[in-house]
């Protein structure tokens, strides 16, 4: 289906992966985000591009949790798209190999969490039309 394969929305979006959290900045919107839980794994999967089904399968292999995994992963992917952090990728790499991340087997599912901070976004929006002074430079509306 169109948009089924997703990838990071670079270069509009950048991120830094830490052990248990990803910090993501959307330079276009001015919003920044914190991703935790299984979201860290999912975000990593999208680096090169992954299908929704591939992301679900990878999380199913990594975590216990059954159907909750499917629901949470798909909802999280939708949020990434809604926030323009992930976009459709026209050429998805080969299907992901669904396997646990380590030899220790599955671990309990931690639902992905996306926290959004929008306190700075107004600074990046284009300013509305202003008045112009006699020399052609904008001024605040009188």
């Amino acid at each position: 289906m169109p948009g089924d394969c997703l990838r990071w929305n670079v270069p509009k979006v950048t991120s830094e992966l830490f052990d248990d959290e990803v910090v993501i900045v959307n330079f276009e919107s001015g919003r920044y985000h914190s991703v935790r839980g299984a979201g860290v794994v999912i975000w990593n999967l999208l680096r090169e591009g992954a299908t929704r089904a591939g992301a679900v399968a990878a999380c199913r292999a990594r975590y216990t949790g059954g159907d909750q995994v499917d629901t949470e992963v798909l909802a999280f992917l939708d949020r990434l798209v809604d926030e323009h952090l992930a976009v459709a990728n026209p050429s998805c790499p080969a299907a992901l190999v669904a396997s646990p991340a380590s030899g220790l087997g599955q671990v309990p599912f931690e639902p992905p969490v996306l926290t959004t901070f929008s306190d700075m976004q107004d600074l990046l929006l284009l300013d509305p039309i202003h008045d112009v002074d006699d020399d052609g430079w904008p001024t605040t509306a009188k």
């Binding site: 270069p11 950048t14 830094e16 830490f18 052990d19 248990d20 959290e21 990803v22 910090v23 900045v25 330079f27 001015g30 920044y32 914190s34 901070f117 306190d119 700075m120 107004d122 600074l123 990046l124 929006l125 284009l126 300013d127 039309i129 202003h130 112009v132 002074d133 020399d135 052609g136 430079w137 904008p138 001024t139 605040t140």
Partner: protein, 370 residues
């Protein structure tokens, strides 16, 4: 102090002229620069030289209208030796002698909320603050800056406290340094970056540190360098501290008479120039050993708790949005810094002794690490 005599020198002319004016952005820069030189040629200006983060910076004032507003926060860095300037900035205001700014070549819809101009992200950087009527230009190749203010008679206290912020970020960014909204306190061996939004307790903590013998590299904005040869480093830039009226009245009443800008607006912060008060404690810089994210806790005791590098990075991120410039590089620099040092949440109590103890623990690395 050097360079107090008004003079018109050839600092700009010593730099190579634009190779070609085919680039409309370079052509605009040179047109603005020509306006500056016409005004400076009257010989009523002034020049100041500074050492900023180990480099020479020269400010050329075409007239004297901006000297009193721009120079106090940088006075602690002034030097008699102009050296070979790594950055030269021409400054003026209004239209002296009827010399107006050239018309802007961009469209009315090209202004971003932080003043940046769409498309000026290569060799020439440009920003225009519409409410203030403040133009800032930077030519990265020639390391020349231009700063113009429509009206010098009402310079906001934020400009007096941290002048030329955009220019310094453009210039320093090319050397891997990053301007960050933070205070920095410590010793020559190492210090703590206090990062967070206005009102989180940065300034009050920095004032307390200064009063009790610690050094301070800055209260509001400092330059950080994650990959300096000496490890993570903070460079002092401004010696100004911003204090809100409540903190002044409750905790630092003895400093109130030395502040500037009080009474301009009901809730506007006042400026204190730290080098006036503690000349020996205003530091040019020191190693960064920790980042602390302060939070005003409604209790007596202060506590520190190790936190993640991600948390510290998020506390610094709002710094990169108001500043013009390459945000990807800014993000990378702050992330690199957060990864290299200890990171803490600092819950500030009301008892000064506890705050001081927490600062010393973080500086010494005695608080448990993440």
């Amino acid at each position: 102090m050097a360079g107090r005599q008004p003079r018109s020198d050839a600092s700009f002319a010593a730099y190579p002229a634009a190779v070609s004016t085919a680039d409309p952005q370079v052509a605009f820069f040179d047109a603005v620069r020509a306006a500056f030189e016409r005004i400076a040629a009257a010989g009523a200006g002034a020049q100041r030289s500074y050492r900023v983060a180990g480099r020479h910076v020269t400010l050329r004032f075409a007239d004297r209208t901006l000297v009193a507003a721009i120079t106090p926060a940088l006075a602690h860095l002034e030097t008699a030796d102009p050296g070979e300037a790594s950055l030269t900035v021409g400054l003026w205001s209004g239209a002296p002698g009827g010399v107006a700014l050239p018309l802007p070549p961009w469209a009315i819809g090209d202004y971003y909320g932080n003043g940046e101009i769409r498309g000026y992200d290569g060799r020439i950087r440009a920003a225009f603050d519409i409410p203030l009527g403040m133009l800032t230009l930077f030519d990265r190749e020639r390391r020349l800056g231009l700063f113009w203010l429509r009206d010098a008679s009402h310079v906001p206290i934020t400009i007096v406290g941290t002048p030329l912020r955009g220019l310094f970020q453009w210039w320093a960014g090319d050397d891997g340094r990053q301007l960050v909204h933070a205070a920095a306190v410590g010793t020559p061996q190492g210090g703590v970056l206090l990062a967070g939004k206005s009102g989180c307790g940065k300034s009050s903590t920095a004032m307390l540190a200064l009063q009790n013998g610690l050094q301070c590299a800055g209260d509001d904005f400092v330059l950080v360098e994650a990959d300096s040869p000496s490890g993570p480093w903070v460079h002092g830039l401004y010696s100004s501290a911003k204090l809100d009226p409540l903190a002044l009245a409750r905790r630092f009443s003895e400093l109130a008479s030395r502040t500037h800008g009080r009474g301009r607006a009901e809730h506007e912060k006042a400026i204190l120039f730290l080098h006036d008060q503690w000349p020996a404690r205003v530091s040019a810089g020191f190693p960064v050993v920790a980042i602390a994210v302060p939070h005003v806790a409604n209790r007596t005791e202060t506590s520190i708790s190790p936190t993640s590098a991600a948390f510290a990075l998020r506390a610094m991120l709002p710094s990169i949005f108001p500043l013009p410039g390459a945000r990807q590089s800014a993000f990378d620099r702050l992330a690199a810094l957060a990864r290299q040092v200890r990171t803490y949440a600092l819950d500030l109590g009301t008892e000064p002794a506890g705050i001081l103890q927490a600062l010393h623990q973080m500086i010494a690395g005695e608080a448990s690490c993440r």
